[in-house]
Subunit: 417 residues, 2 copies
């Protein structure tokens, strides 16, 4: 992509009172644009990151042992389904609306009310179990207050997986497999070091559910990490227990954290209102046991930025970076332009993602500052000076020192990062 | 994918009074599930098709000369933006809702009210023009009545591209390039033979806009095709003109058709209310000229099925088929199972999409009938009988006759279709 054509705008001005590092940096670097409180547009740079996160999540949901089948459920839901589960009344963040013929709808914040009656049409026997479906889709929450940029919004992309089981053992085993897949996702997104599987309340059906909490100063949640066994618990569990539920330890470290995912054993909770049953091997009807597993894509993007930044800007982990290479042309000398265009062409040919800062009338210092703000992993600078050594200067965003690489070696360099 | 694990259910029962062929077939073959009137879930088979259509559209929007940059704008829009353009009052299909603090929202059916003020933040000079952005996103229309399955729904995935220009000539030229890209899309989706670029009213800014109409018995629209030059016009234009606007011919063929896309020169229509201007080379402020270009993904999927079917079921064009090969195992003989598993494994290894009907307790006739209904392009049957000739029976869904292919030649066959 030619930077002169890219639809974006950066801002040098730092906010006096920042909501969160991610909001500040993603806005200033031109990744997101606020349409109104809690509602954002993802600009081309931001959309590229969102798409990469989406693909990482999708891959991990499709791959065995999670083996989820992707579907797409609608955002508009009938009031009746939400009345059946009692959530039309009890869930205060529901967006409700009326359409033609005074038909009442919910804008779904989650999809148990759709997936359970859907499964009822397809599941009849123990032979139809277990299975799991997921979708990646726009969700809505009528939040009273929003803050922290894309960490808590009124509209957000979310992946939600639902699993269906004949036995508690099967649900338990599958639940643990999804937890492992979640850590793969967080690892690929560059936040696993800071992310804790955190015990949370499990509702009436199971003792605990699990949240995935990424430690960060701007997190809305508080978690407590047992110093002895590193198990984390959320505030609710901490208030109920003076000791660590895993090892009995009693010293906890308190941390602010962002909930980047959660998994929950629903059991019969949504099977019962929709009469979702199956016939077991003995021909007896039993309620299907369900699990649900969520990750918010925008919040995960925010958490990645909260963890990966410095005072100059974002430092994208390679697998979620909008581009892998940032090619920066210094000056307009014929030879410089020629070399830059050649590098860019090689990148296109090899299918390597290069953002090429081809802009005229922009001073080198400004180009560098903007490149630091945007945070692409590898910067390749070509100037008359570097060409005197038949080289380009290469610098990793996460490192202090740059090195010269011979132009003749650059193709190999592009290929091997 | 193992068919024994696939989340779907087919139905043999034909409806007495069908809404459209596509609704009938997509529902009976387990591609879609109706949640409520005009609102559908895409099941795994349907989602795979939707994803292929999405990728075809995305590729054609990103590629030069369209060169659209992908973004993601939100579905929830502030009332204020829609008041500015007058559409809060004038557009009767708007879903309106209230959130926390009595804040009023629109569920967007289109995104001029978001993209124009967004562009205003980034465009200042003629040097920033032209450019175009698109997104593929959930849209909402509060239709009084819905029918025809996924041909007209209250919620639907749509690709909308917006272009921004300094001059009328530039807008005109770009508009024609998008029209060409649209035909590429319809060609890849297997409906170009039946699809006409159709003159429609252009509003106040340009004489005509263009609809892309796919001729089909269940279409809601009527188009008139000039017998002399094959130009199509919609009803509104036909009523205003007794002669063909292109060649002056006066004999038209009347056809029912589905509007699978439309393109429109908006001109200053949305630039003016949002004060979207640029400074030209002489330093004068001018309104930016806009174009908009839409394709509904679900409707396109429906149109594909309307065109590609027979009395047994769907006949998917290869590029949008949920799978390319349907491997059907007949019987449980050890050798049959072994060969089927080997073929399936080769497909997985080569990244070729194979649906493997591994189901026991399902009669061959039922497997064949269901395969015809689902409509995967190539069927590969392995039975004791075919193995006696060291072969599998291969049949294209669109052809009458089957042929035997040696098992030893199957890998090559899989690779070359």
């Amino acid at each position: 992509m030619l930077q002169s054509k890219l639809f974006y705008k950066t801002s040098k001005e730092k906010s006096a009172d920042i909501e969160s590092i991610s909001h500040e940096l993603l806005t200033r670097a031109g990744f997101i644009d606020q349409l109104m409180a809690g509602i954002y547009t993802f600009l081309p740079l931001g959309f590229r990151v969102l798409q990469k996160i989406e693909n990482i999540i999708r891959k991990n949901m499709i791959t065995a042992p999670v083996s989820g089948q992707e579907i797409l459920m609608p955002a508009l839901n009938p009031k009746e389904n939400w009345q059946k589960t009692g959530r039309w009344e009890s869930l205060d963040i529901l967006f409700k609306l009326k359409g033609a013929g005074d038909k009442e709808y919910v804008l779904a914040p989650t999809h148990e009310e759709v997936v359970a009656p859907l499964a009822k049409k397809i599941i009849f026997s123990y032979r139809d179990l277990p299975f799991s479906v997921f979708h990646i889709q726009d969700k809505f929450r009528n939040e009273l207050r929003v803050k922290s940029g894309i960490l808590r919004t009124r509209e957000f992309m979310m992946k939600d997986l639902y699993s269906f089981h004949a036995t508690q053992t099967d649900l338990d085993e599958y639940y643990d497999k999804v937890a492992k897949a979640y850590f793969n996702i967080f690892k690929e997104c560059g936040i696993s070091r800071f992310t804790y599987q955190t015990l949370a309340s499990g509702g009436s059906f199971s003792k605990y559910s699990d949240e995935f909490q990424t430690v960060s100063e701007f997190g809305e949640d508080t978690i407590y990490i047992c110093e002895k066994c590193q198990t984390a618990v959320n505030k609710e569990i901490k208030n109920e227990n003076t000791k660590c539920p895993k090892c009995g330890g009693s010293v906890f470290e308190e941390k602010k954290a962002i909930e980047v995912g959660n998994i929950f054993k629903l059991g019969e909770k949504y099977s019962l209102p929709f009469n979702l049953k199956f016939r077991n091997k003995d021909g007896l009807e039993k309620p299907v046991l369900m699990g649900c597993y969520g990750i918010g894509l925008g919040r995960l993007m925010g958490a990645i930025v909260e963890i990966n930044n410095d005072d100059k800007g974002i430092i994208w982990p390679k697998d979620v970076a909008p581009f892998v290479f940032h090619l920066i042309q210094i000056g307009e000398a014929g030879k410089v332009v020629k070399v830059c265009k050649a590098i860019y062409k090689i990148g296109q040919k090899l299918g390597i993602e290069v953002l090429y800062d081809d802009r005229k009338d922009v001073a080198p210092g400004e180009k560098f500052a903007e490149a630091d703000l945007i945070g692409i992993p590898y910067r390749i600078i070509v100037s008359e000076k570097t060409l005197k050594a038949n080289s380009a200067e290469v610098k990793e965003r996460s490192k202090k020192r740059a090195k010269l690489i011979k132009i003749s070696q650059l193709t190999r360099f592009l290929k091997t990062q």
